[in-house]
Amino acid sequence: MSKKSSGVDRREFLVGVSALSLSAPLLAYTKAPKRQKAQVVIVGGGYGGVTTAKYLKKENPGLDVVLIEERPFFMSCPMSNHFLAGLMELTPLCFSYNVLEAKYDIRFVNDKVLGVELDKRVVRTSSGYIAYDYLVLSPGIDYDIEDKPFYRDSLVFNPPAFKPGSEHIYLKRLIEDFEGGDIVITVPTPPYRCPPAPYERAALIASMIKRDKLKAHIYFIDANERPPVNSEGFLTAYYDLYKDIATYVTSAQVRDVDVHKKVVSTSHGNFKYEIANIIPPMKASSLLEDAGLLKKGQKWVEVNPLTFETSVRNVFVIGDASQSYLPKSGYAAHSEGKLVAKLINARLRGKEIKEEFLQMICYAMVSDREAIMTETAFRYDAVSKRFIPTHREDNQRKESTARRYEEWARGLWRDLFG
């Protein structure tokens, strides 16, 4: 246990233990006191939040950093399609936040954030307030389903598996129990989390059908005209490998999901399914809306594109929740976390940092052995105030790219929790 674990000092903790030990189970340990203070509070323990916390402390070990996350452990969404398709166990995707406390003295608060009061500079959790000087919000996405209530039922029956955890485990079970019939997978229009993910998932499920010689067919219903990235690589793989077992329906809008009759109604007809992976549209976490960082009608938080700072000084939004030139992905959130950590540390020393442009790399499996990839470098044009991307795709599916993919993910995990 680190000196400052969970914001309770040793004496308080011991007193708490002796008072509780006679009569109650040890509940008090992870609860924050009613009011505490930290120099930097980070909300969200995904790729963005963990990276920010670690890099803040790596460069500035004396800094007081609190990381608040409601899930008790980290699960990676990158590589989770490998898990769904049986190419990887769940264990390598999961990490304990304890490592961050033990190694870097980051105070981990396993709690739900109920609100952010920007005017008072406090974060409200279910067990008290935490005041901050700097706030980094990396809460990820919510499903954007308010105006389409049919998605709400569907969430329960047809897990989207775009938020890490039980959704993936439930979808994996559905896939494992599947013995044949029709599978429906739907894709919303961007921006959504991890643009190539639904296309990879469709390819991997098709490859499982092929491997197990199941009597099954995939209806892959895409709101887009074509995959937004690696279009050539995905379409070639679908045609070469899965044309007999999958139908790709493009520019199709989902209109209803009847979870009892197991039918998805779309602008291109109705599709009955045995199992379905209905991926709803997405928006920034509702926490940001409640905090007043989202204007009416906005789905993502506007930030300074070079610093990820919001209109409120020393309040940053990174990761999928921000409206950025980078696609929504764990890799982008990780890069943004490093940048914001550098910026906060510099600001604490009374300095500002030079502009940095982040790069994007995405990989996607197109079969159980082969992958394709894309890389985008960005340059900022100060005159037009726009980011100019240089986009490179390797659409030739290769086993070596699949190995690079795994090393890409393992490298990120080493960086996050190593």
């Binding site: 790069q359 990839m373 390797d394 690079r404 490298g411 080493r414 190593g418």
Partner: protein, 239 residues
Amino acid sequence: MDRRSFIKTCTTIAVASMVDAKVFSEVLAQQKDSMFQAYKRALLIKEDGSPLKESDLKPHETYIFFYPHVATPCYLLNLNEEIPAQDISLKDGKSYKWPGGVGSKKSIVAYSAICAHQWSYPTKGYSFINYYPPDKPSDTTKKAGIIQCCAHLALYDPKKGASVIDGPAEAPLATIVLQEEKDGFYAIGVLGKDQFSQFFETYRADLRQQYGSTAKAKEPVDKCTVMEVEKYVKEVIRC
């Protein structure tokens, strides 16, 4: 001074005393920010045990050896042209004098093969970090004469102390300082920001499997067997 840094200092002094005093002070004297770490001197040898000669190194071929620990891989390259010394500046404001190439043409350089970004390194199975000779550019970045890691496209310039050309790495690859003597080439220490502590921490399980224990993986070497990377690595992954 805490116990750990005291022991580290003692070890450094102990190792330093095994190093040729003249050579040691020469390299060290040039370093402002104590970016040079002396290790046990180790002769570079061929697989048959004889000292490696300059003529054994084909231009632009990648050779692998392990230094300063039995488990820490390094790449040795003959870049076939004079590689001059230069100043290397790090992002944290530190800097060091990079000594350039060794050998009759001053064309031979050596670097730690642990990527400074997220520590990919050549294993017996795969190598994601590789040298791309001038006539074999990368398919992805189209660049040649570089060291590139295919996991996240970190690019380093072997002619400039493996400083970062492009991609996400924050620091150059660490340099293995080579010294040419009458009987051959010696590795004498590491210059720049090494990644050894992260390496041993991160790969504990893998190293235990390959070497029996982390302690064994950390043992210092006194001879370095040099071989073509393809002889050590089953699949060299280029991109």
